[in-house]
Subunit: 457 residues, 2 copies
């Protein structure tokens, strides 16, 4: 079997930035590397071409009566900018203080490696393990998985035969306290584009006569939140689900420390909606977030213009049971309704993903018809984490989005068991991303135990 850490370093060296077409060749090399990795476990590999980046599909077949687990991961990563804030090259993995640094180390190449290594080790130890395994490694998670949806539709007959999905693309609060994620926020992406004059104008000759599109954009953007950070769009919160008591109890066990959290992110005050702690807000509430803004002159010094154009990149995080299309409509309407005369405002819709919720076995609100093998996987995860990490996991909703999890549920009817293998200090989507190598090693052991337990029934 390969050394998981060395193999992970190789994986990180591929700059698999899916959102930027400049990285097309690196994406292809990464796909081939991932395919080789799955093949080296003894699985058959199919490269499934899509309209975008291909899907690496790995299969271990077997008796149809054997349990069948889908293992999901993604080989693409976020852009590495701003490059000047990285202390080492984002695609030059460096081991330091028990961590491996590099873009994608934690999201998602490292956690994915835990399952790849677990399968490898398990099949080496038990070549006849009665378990069917299907790896689905996609290359478009960071851009909303547009190709995975049609893929699931096409392969629905085969894939819906599986019992559940196992994956690690979620957060645990520390290397000691693992979390099994039972809820994810959805996401929609929009860009607001404001156009004023047909070209940049001299602000001396024309300033005061025309509507500055940056001004109009800031006025529209500023109108989208109340002072207490509530999204100020009628109907936005209408479908937000109530939080269950057992969820609040579980979150209470987390015992989040607001002062520590402030220090971690470097702010002197939080800005959560009234009545919610920051820990509740990121899990239970939807957001409307400005991911970027631009317009006019941004270079050195000054340029005395009335700019022609300005834009804002927005994403909304959604929670159960908000519908992405409904929220798209509400936000777009609000923006266009608030567009002033004198500028042209357009809203361009980007990707979307629905929110997701699953209830583990033994809770007051666990569905009566929960499949036995799914319940077994949750129970096995609980036991394995308790043994390997020395403390039982918490079953919590998470603020992040893995749009495909809701798609898998709606398309294949399968729920997901999500073992959180990255930590707050891993700097996901940010400079100096890293993965805790102790968590990686423990993650391999947990995955092995879950798979082994599944194989028994």
């Amino acid at each position: 079997m390969f050394d998981p850490v060395e193999k992970l370093k190789e994986y990180i060296r591929f700059a698999s930035v899916s959102t930027d077409s400049a990285f097309k060749e690196q994406m292809e090399l990464t796909r081939d590397f991932a395919a080789g990795l799955v093949e080296s476990l003894g699985l058959s590999v199919e490269i499934v071409d899509t309209k975008g980046h291909p899907i690496v599909l790995g299969r271990r077949g077997g008796d149809p009566s054997w349990p069948h687990v889908l293992i999901y991961g993604h080989y693409d990563v976020q852009p590495a900018d701003p490059p000047e804030l990285w202390e080492t090259g984002p695609f030059e993995p460096i081991e330091k203080d028990g961590r491996l640094f590099g873009r994608g180390a934690a999201d998602n190449k490292g956690p994915q490696m835990a399952h790849l290594a677990a399968v490898g080790q398990l099949l080496e130890e038990q070549p006849d393990l009665p378990l069917r395994i299907t790896f689905i490694l996609e290359g478009e998670e960071e851009i909303g998985s547009p190709s995975l949806r049609p893929f699931l539709q096409e392969r629905r007959a085969e894939l819906s035969e599986a019992d559940l999905v196992l994956l690690s693309d979620t957060l645990s609060p520390s290397a000691e306290q693992m979390v099994v994620t039972v809820g994810l926020r959805g996401v929609i992406e929009l860009e607001v584009r404001v156009t004023g004059p047909n070209g940049d104008l001299h602000s001396g000759l024309h300033g005061g006569a025309v509507y500055n599109p940056v001004q109009a954009l800031t006025e529209i953007c500023a109108s989208l939140h109340t002072a207490d950070n509530r999204v100020d769009i009628a109907g936005f919160y209408d479908d937000v689900a109530e939080v269950e008591d057992w969820e609040r109890d579980e979150l209470a066990k987390l015992g989040g420390d607001e002062e520590q959290y402030k220090t971690l992110v470097g702010v002197d005050a939080f800005h959560a909606m009234e009545g919610y702690t920051p820990f509740e807000a990121v899990r239970y509430l939807p957001t409307l977030e400005f991911n970027g803004i631009g317009g006019g002159y941004q270079g050195e010094g000054s340029k005395t213009i009335v700019p022609s154009k300005a834009f804002a990149k927005i994403t909304c995080r959604l929670v159960g049971n908000q519908d992405p299309e409904t929220i798209f409509d509400l936000v777009e309407k609000a923006v266009l309704d608030r567009a002033p005369q004198g500028v042209r405002v357009e809203v361009k819709r980007g990707h979307k993903g629905a929110p997701y919720l699953v209830v583990p076995p033994g809770r007051p609100n666990t569905p009566g018809d929960q499949p036995e093998r799914l319940a077994r996987a949750f129970t096995a995860a609980d036991a394995a984490i308790s043994q390997v990490f020395g403390r039982p996991p918490l079953f919590l909703r998470e603020g992040g989005s893995i749009p495909i999890i809701a798609d898998i549920k709606s398309t294949l009817g399968l729920d997901s068991v999500m073992i959180g293998l990255f930590l707050p200090e891993d700097n996901l989507h940010a400079p100096n991303e890293s993965m805790d190598l102790g968590v990686l090693e423990n993650g391999i052991q947990v995955s092995k135990r879950i798979l082994e337990s599944l194989a028994k029934g």
Copy 2:
């Protein structure tokens, strides 16, 4: 004598962008070219070193009783971005349809060339002309003339002996209707910088808990104007001077066509402050203009972050009798007062320039002690323009800023006669800048007549 058009092409080929240090060498080459040009007229040249870009000082001495005119121009230009909107290279001058295209063609190399060529032709025709001439060509007009102020102080004894300043760095409405500019707006420049978390955060993990600095920035920016485009800062308008009746009469003669103006700039509605036409607003009112905004992810696709930082570049245009320092204080205080908890807000001050007003001879409010040679220059300008362009000029305030004009007044005690030699369609500070070559040729003739008339007394 040189051919003014060919010489102007040579001048434009130098990419003299003063605001961007990447163009340092081009600035030096431009300075040497300008110096050579002045020398070729038979003037002595001194390159005056400064903390920034040097000043080219050209002198034609003579009997101390001779009239003495300072001619001002600037050899620096605005940046040429966005480069993709230029139809031809910004620094590759092209003659087309009676116009010369290129960055700086109209601001200020072309209009400046009118006076250089006029002096050259006049001295060739009348080598003994009893007129002292001092050219002051600076390289920092587009960044607020920081070095010209100390230069004026240092050379105060020599330069304040002059009678007036002649220059062309202002607008006329068309090639048929020239304007002599009698007022300029001042300018102050600020940058608002907002910092939220200490790095970009994953918007799934942290969105909803922390104050998004783009959101905070848009809220601050949006608070700075009322819905009718009045700057919403207490005291901002306190020192704005009343407009004189003769000024309104003169502006009425301009007969601005709002529909034409809309078409020119490409907007379907103006956004001037209530009670002002767009033509009045750009001349009589101060502004607070967003020249640029930036923060977070601006690349292709999306990046689901809560950005760490955002900024807005702001300039205020000021009118008589607003004081730049007072307005700096008011805007800075407003921004900082409106900064919400959870983000850090800084205001960085940039350059500043005071507004300027002069009253031509024969107006009801012409100062009783107006110098005779200044009055003569205005009268000569009136006559020369009437003859050469076939229609008398209008004496109007302009919305642009030439900060040095107010500085010359306050430091040297000299007023300026400003002949507008660029036109609205010249695309100043914008892509595809050009100069009307008919205006250039007429401008040479007007300048010659003014200088000749001055020499007579």
